[in-house]
């Protein structure tokens, strides 16, 4: 089987090579070629040493998805791969979807697993808000993206052949770029996470959650609207299928309804507690200990009781 790896930046090639190794061990050998875009050939060459038969490099300071897709389509026409695989960043998904659209291929976004044998592949992916896994068999050629940062880089080997390609022009033009603020929060490492949702009425009220998290030695995370819509917390605090996946010892969901897109990312928590004023909130399906209460009344009391316990 011939696999084309598509990396919108060279730094993604090592993890794609990690996936390739996994696939190769299941299929019994694969032939790989790679595509990436980089500001210079030398920059790209640092990442093309994973046994790719050939690496195509587009030299560009900056590139849009349509340009990258067009360049890859030309490579596909020459090389005829059975599989085209990218990384499931927003950019990666878009580039691979465009390629799949142009070439009339099925595509499997953010596959969580792959089964392979006898030249066939089965892709596993999370669907239904992350609550279910579907197992899909594509007709080949097909395309897929792998979760970002999931596969470890294998040992680098010999540098393969590197071929420079030109990027066609884009239909988009850049107006401006604003960097997002980083909060420096690492909820993925925290042992205890206090999650806040739209049950909080204003940003200042999150102080209660901060106090609770501090008492427990944990961090504050949140549902999508709190970070993405209201910007009350930085995006590193956003928990869910489009944010972070966490596996703390304790997750306390406060004023969070329990949408599957949120809860599927906390299912590995050892204990889950929820505080919600609505006794029918879906969040209670996912909890070990549920409290039906107004968070504004309950949190001060709970914090007080915790202080008594911890102080005593």
């Amino acid at each position: 089987m011939k696999v084309l790896l598509v990396a919108e930046k060279p730094g993604l090639l090592p993890e794609l090579a990690g996936f390739l190794k996994d696939l190769g061990s299941k299929l019994g050998g694969v032939e790989a070629i790679a595509f990436t875009a980089a500001p210079s050939l030398d920059e790209a060459k640092k990442f093309t040493t994973y046994g790719f038969a050939k690496s195509y490099v587009a030299v560009a300071e900056q590139a849009f998805p349509d340009q990258l897709a067009k360049a890859v389509v030309e490579i596909i026409d020459k090389e005829g791969p059975d599989l085209v695989v990218g990384v499931a960043t927003k950019m990666g998904n878009e580039v691979v979807a465009r390629i799949a659209g142009a070439k009339g291929m099925p595509m499997f976004t953010e596959i969580v697993d792959v089964e392979a044998g006898d030249g066939a592949v089965l892709f596993h992916r999370a669907v239904l808000g992350g609550r279910a896994i579907s197992v899909l068999k594509p007709a080949l050629p097909a395309a897929a993206t792998i979760p970002a940062r999931k596969y470890e880089a294998p040992q680098p080997g010999e540098p393969g052949e590197v071929v420079e390609v030109k990027l066609p022009p884009s239909a988009l033009s850049l107006v401006k770029v604003e960097k997002k603020e980083k909060g420096g929060i690492n909820i993925e490492e925290a042992e205890i996470v206090v999650g806040v949702g739209r049950g909080f009425r204003k940003k200042e009220d999150l102080a209660m959650a901060e106090e609770l998290a501090n008492l427990l030695g944990g961090a504050v995370g949140c549902s999508r609207p709190i970070a993405a819509d209201y910007h009350w917390l930085p995006e590193d605090a956003w928990i869910g299928i489009s944010g972070k996946k966490i596996r703390p010892k304790l997750y306390i969901a406060i004023g969070i309804s329990g949408a599957p897109q949120h809860m599927s990312a906390v299912m590995d928590a050892k204990v889950i507690v929820a505080v919600n004023k609505d006794k029918n909130a879906p969040v209670f399906q996912y909890t070990d200990y549920g409290v039906v209460a107004d968070l504004y009344q309950f949190l001060p009391v709970f914090i007080q009781k915790l202080k008594e316990k911890l102080g005593g």
């Binding site: 099925p106 007709a139 107006v175 993405a228």
Partner: protein, 264 residues
Amino acid sequence: MNVAVFVKASLDPNMLRVDSSGKILVEDIPLAISEYDRNAVEEAIRIKEKHGGKVVAFSVLTWGPLQKRVREAEQVLREALAMGADEAYLLVDEALIPGNPYTTAEALAAMVRKVGQFDLYLTGEGSMDTLSFQVAARLGEALGIPAVSYARAIEVADGKARVTRDLEEHLETVEVSLPAVISVTGEINKPRLPTLLQIRRAFAKPLNKLSLADVGYTPPSGVVEIRDLKLLAVSRKNIMVEGSSLEEIASKLVDLLVKEGIVK
């Protein structure tokens, strides 16, 4: 400014049904408008309110059984009509069920071509059942026009759109000539809730049903086979902590966390 907006009748992930082995009972899960397609409809209506023109909603049914689902898909389109879309088209054909983003996008493109030309084509960023994040990019390819994904803001002027893309590390503002396909994020706007009167009036708006023969598209068969669809098991204690006062509940919860070895 004529806007085409794409709305999917998605399996509702809040209403999952399974058998005893955890297999998802697709046929028993109700369909609902995909969460972020409401944002796409809202944005289409705002653009119409500002620039004039009309808003046409398109949907392809991707889940069976057909008989039962047609009414649910019509209901989803009625929601778009109640919000303010002027007209809707639903494509129903056994050959598109169960759907995949490849044949769905090709079918949507064929529908659009049949109905007319638009200045702007709006989709949600990703559909809530299949989470594929593909259809906007595929529509761009199928219609031969630019596509821009993850819009958090759209400004239309002089035959161009200025779009702010919400990417992981930054917000990127780009300009693109129309016509173009744009996918919107859930944060781009706050979708309006139609009034009762608007809901009633939506029944008088045209909702047209089409088949593959009507749009002249034959999907390839067997591109994607669903081998399995299983719920990820949740096993939780599901204990409600109760008491006659908040103090009592709080104390009980603290004790439970001590017992779990979390609070020491």
